[in-house]
């Protein structure tokens, strides 16, 4: 997580919120990674852990401002990571075909070592599938949040700013940027 430096005087949130966010964000991410990599051992998995990781980035953007959060997670990187997550899943399925089994065969194909039952590196392909799904979900949560925020900078919004029936005052979007 990038430490926020720019526009320090423009933050609208209090110092308590900023400090708690700065303290908690790494632990939230760590909890999400824990849920993802223990997906085959505990309740939880790729979807839940991914949403928690995405929530940490959203919390960061809400506590500071949008641009600092966007600097930490650029759009191009997020798109690449989402694609990597989906293709990781699909390629694990295709490995089963190339080894002579069905699509997404787990144990018979022995794509990944099965390991000892109950250990972290067990379950064969389930571990890697969880990683792919978690990466996809985390990235897509973050990306959709920022995309919906940046909609306000779209040409339609700038042309029809006065006509819109509501005024969004959340996250100092209008004052922060010279839009």
């Amino acid at each position: 997580m990038i430490t926020p430096k720019k526009n320090k005087e423009k933050y609208k949130t209090s110092i308590i919120v900023q400090l708690v966010t700065r303290m908690m964000c790494p632990f939230i991410i760590m909890f999400g990674v824990f849920l993802i990599v223990h997906g085959h051992l505990t309740p939880g998995g790729g979807f839940q852990g991914g949403v928690i990781i995405g929530a940490s980035f959203i919390l960061f953007a809400m506590a500071f401002n949008r641009q600092d959060g966007r600097d930490a997670v650029p759009s191009f990187t997020l798109k690449c990571l989402a694609s990597i997550g989906v293709y990781l899943y699909i390629s694990i399925g295709l490995v089963g075909i190339f080894l002579g089994y069905h699509f997404l065969t787990n144990k018979a194909a022995a794509i990944a070592p099965m390991g000892m039952f109950g250990e972290l590196l067990s379950g064969g392909a389930l571990f890697w599938i969880n990683l792919g799904v978690g990466l996809t979900v985390a990235v897509i949560c973050t990306e959709l949040f920022y995309v919906f925020l940046e909609e306000e900078r779209s040409p339609y919004y700038l042309e029809n700013k006065k006509k819109l029936p509501y005024q969004r005052r959340w996250l100092d979007v209008d004052k922060d940027d010279s839009v």
Binding site: G39, H40, L41, T42, P43, G45, G46, F47, R70, P74, S75, F76, K79, A82, S83, G85, V86, Y89, I90, G93, F103, L104, N106, K107, M114, G115, F117, G118, S122, G123, G124, L126, I129, N130, G132, V133, T136, V137, I140, E143, L144, V147, F148, E150, E151, R153, S154
Partner: protein, 116 residues
């Protein structure tokens, strides 16, 4: 002719679907495989109604019981839910992840962003 062919197709498909619906098993039938099937490979001598209660419990092999018993051996996963949604139903989860990805692509293509 253009109206006639869809009418015939509609009639054929609607008829077949209605026939299938009428031939459904009754809802809540305890002998359905989703509720209680029996593993006849292990016990071929007796029918279900001839078993004692202990034998019924021993040889019952419904879908839920199958997951309970065989998912650790089949998948190596400790958590049965993960074993189901990532191994037995892995296609479902793959398409779920693809749906999320498609949602992001759709939003990006409609709203779009500046390069950032």
């Amino acid at each position: 002719m253009k109206k006639f062919v869809p009418a015939i197709l509609f009639t054929v498909f609607a008829f077949s679907m209605i026939v299938v619906i009428l031939r459904f098993a009754p809802i809540g039938d305890p002998h359905l495989p989703g509720y209680a099937g029996f593993d006849h490979s292990e016990n071929t001598e007796k029918e279900v109604w001839e078993m004692t209660k202990e034998e019924v419990v021993q040889y019952a092999d419904s879908v839920a019981l199958h997951y309970n018993r065989h998912s650790p051996g089949d998948t190596g996963a400790l958590d049965i839910i993960t074993a189901i949604i990532f191994d037995y139903r892995a296609y479902d989860t793959l398409i779920e992840a693809t749906v999320l990805f498609t949602a992001m692509i759709g939003v990006l293509s409609i709203i779009g962003t500046k390069k950032n």
